[in-house]
Each structure stands twice: as C-alpha cells, then as structure tokens.
Symmetry: C2
Subunit: 203 residues, 2 copies
C-alpha cells in the first residue's frame, strides 16, 4: 500500500564495509554510510535501530559468507581445521572491521551456524559432554585470539619493526619477532591450529 523501501539491511552492510575498507574504523559513522548510499542520515534508521545494529549487520554480512559444510570424507580434525580457516579468511577480507567482528560475533547467526557445524564434526568424532564443550571452546578461543593477534600484534606488522629496537630489554622477544617475520601468517595460523588439534586428539 505505501511507498516501497528503496534499500535493504544488506545494502547498509555493504555500504558500511565500503566505508570501513576505504577510510578505516574511525571513519565509520551514520553520516558516512548514508553518504555512501546517497541518502539522508536519518533514512538509515528505517532499516536499523541504531549504530550498534548497523555494525552487527555489517559483521553478519562478513560472516555470512563462510561455508559451514565441512568437507566430506576428511578426518574430523581436518574438517575442523577447514572450518576454522574459512572464518579466518572471511574476517581477513575486512581487516578494519576486526574490532567490530569481535564485539558483535556473539549475536551473529552465521557464527552460531558455524558453531553448530563444528559441534557436528566433534560429535561425529566421538566427543561428548564436557569434553565437547572444552573442544569447541579451545578451537573457537584460538580462532578468536589468533585473528585478533594477526590484525594488531606485537609480533607482526608494525609492531615487529618497533620491537626489534628493544632487543636489549627483551632479547627473546626480539629474536622471536625476527623469526616470526619469516613465516607467512596463514602458515602460522595453520601450525598453531595444528597444535590445538593435536592436543584434542589425545585422550
């Protein structure tokens, strides 16, 4: 009956991510997103309740792209590894949004679906009860932590250079940073995940 909507929540999410990718986290504002869409600021409030929800919608859009079907005919640990790496990859596509991803992940349906999928794999592998709780937590914990570290770390990125100067106070850290600089981050992630899965494999 009335005038039809001209936008969608998804369109807001895409615009927010465009601003984020182009101008950084600090530049994300209701005005900026509205501008990106060529509409007035207050029009956005027809699609989201407030800024918080806009952020949540953007994060959901990032994570909705991860395929939660574990690869058939792979061992359970490989399946978990693949699922974890898919999340890492999706998040890595929007590095400026990492802090938002962290703060909104817990209300994100896609991540719930992902958790359900991981639990499916674990269940099929024989995990039950508290053991299964711990298994999910340790995998998700490592995933969250590793992703955070990768995008603002003392051992990689800008921190590495700044820290090699502190060799005298922190010799081991400086040496470690040097070695870490030679390892591609995806390899580092995979090897750390391998450690976690290795710990889960034993009784």
């Amino acid at each position: 009956m009335p005038r039809p909507k001209s936008l969608t929540q998804t369109a807001l999410a895409v615009a927010a991510l465009a601003v984020l990718d182009r101008d950084g986290l600090a530049a994300l504002s209701m005005r900026a997103v509205a501008n990106e869409l060529g509409v007035g600021t207050m029009s956005l409030y027809r699609y989201v309740a407030d800024r918080d929800e806009l952020e949540a919608v953007a994060v959901e859009h990032i994570l909705s792209q991860v395929d939660v079907d574990p690869p058939k005919k792979a061992l359970w640990d490989k399946q978990v590894a693949v699922l974890a790496e898919r999340v890492r990859t999706a998040i890595a596509r929007h590095p400026n949004a990492v802090p938002l991803t962290m703060s909104h992940r817990h209300r994100c349906p896609s991540l719930l679906r992902w958790g359900e999928a991981v639990l499916g794999v674990l269940t099929r592998a024989g995990f039950t009860g508290e053991e299964r709780v711990i298994a999910l937590r340790v995998v998700l914990g490592y995933l969250i932590g590793a992703t955070e570290m990768e995008h603002r770390s003392p051992l990689a990125g800008e921190g590495t250079d700044a820290m090699t100067g502190l060799s005298e106070k922190y010799p081991l850290l400086a040496e470690t940073a040097g070695v870490a600089g030679g390892i591609p981050s995806d390899v580092e992630f995979r090897r750390g995940l391998e450690v976690v899965l290795s710990g889960l494999r034993r009784p």
Copy 2:
C-alpha cells in the same frame, strides 16, 4: 622551578579504572575521568597526549600487576599455565575494560615482559626457532581468545539463556551451552589451556 605536578599517569589510570568499573565502558570520557579526579578536563592533557594514551595507561596499569616470575621447580608446561592464568586473573578484575585491554595490549610493556618470560620458559624447555614462535603464538592466542570469549560469549553469561530458546535451530549448540553452564569459567579456561599445552608437548 615551576609549579609541581599534582597528579601522575598512575593516578589517571586509577581514576579511569574507577569510572570503568562503576559506570561501564561507554561512560569513560575525558570529562568523566577529570571529574573523578576533581580537576578540569583539560588538565588531563598535561599527563597524557590524548584519550588513546589514557586508555593505554589504564590497560598498562591492569597488566602491570601480573607477576612474570614463573614458579621455580615446576615443569615448563605448568609454568606456562601459571603465567597465563595470572594474566587472565588480572584482566578479569576489570571486566568492563576488556575491550580496551584487547586494543592496547600490543603497546603494553607489562605484556612484553610477560611474553619475554614465557619465551624464557619455552627456551629452557627446549623450544627453538619456528617451533618456539608457534608455541608462544598458540598460548597467547588461546589466552586472548578465551579471555574475550569469557567476557562476551555466546556460550556463557546472558547468551546462554537466550540461546537455549534456539534449541530447534541449533540443537548441539543449545545442549553444549547447557553443559557449559555447569562448568566454572576458571576450570573451563584451565582445561582448554591444558589441551593447548598437551598439543605442545608432543613431537
């Protein structure tokens, strides 16, 4: 020669944490901290360059309280576990500051000292080169991730209740949430950490 300072960076940190603990993260502002100290807003800028530095000082104050001496005559994995739990404990004392702790940890001298201490333990345990890099990363990654999850998780706290309602869409997740609710969070952290350390013990 001139008028002496009446405050210190530490005093700002304490005031900021007081505001944080009492009124939450959103209430932390330069005005609020100045009020807490009974001084004018702009006076704070004699002690910190900007709000960002105030946050960093507060985080440093939180983490400066962790003892980085590993317990003598314990096995290396126990030593690492103790060091990790000390950080968790320190962070947990100011739950409202967790997001700040995450975003400022990488410029925090106390955490560098902590990393140096962990590397010392790992080195004495025989870890070298890339293996040692991975070991530190996986421990720190789990620590960071687990701490984040503990303070805003889909499996604990308010999320648990909200999610048991979604049993139909996410049956495994709902069941897991129920089981998780019965495990004290420090036990959960310890058992997850045990998985990680178990993974580090092999080859």
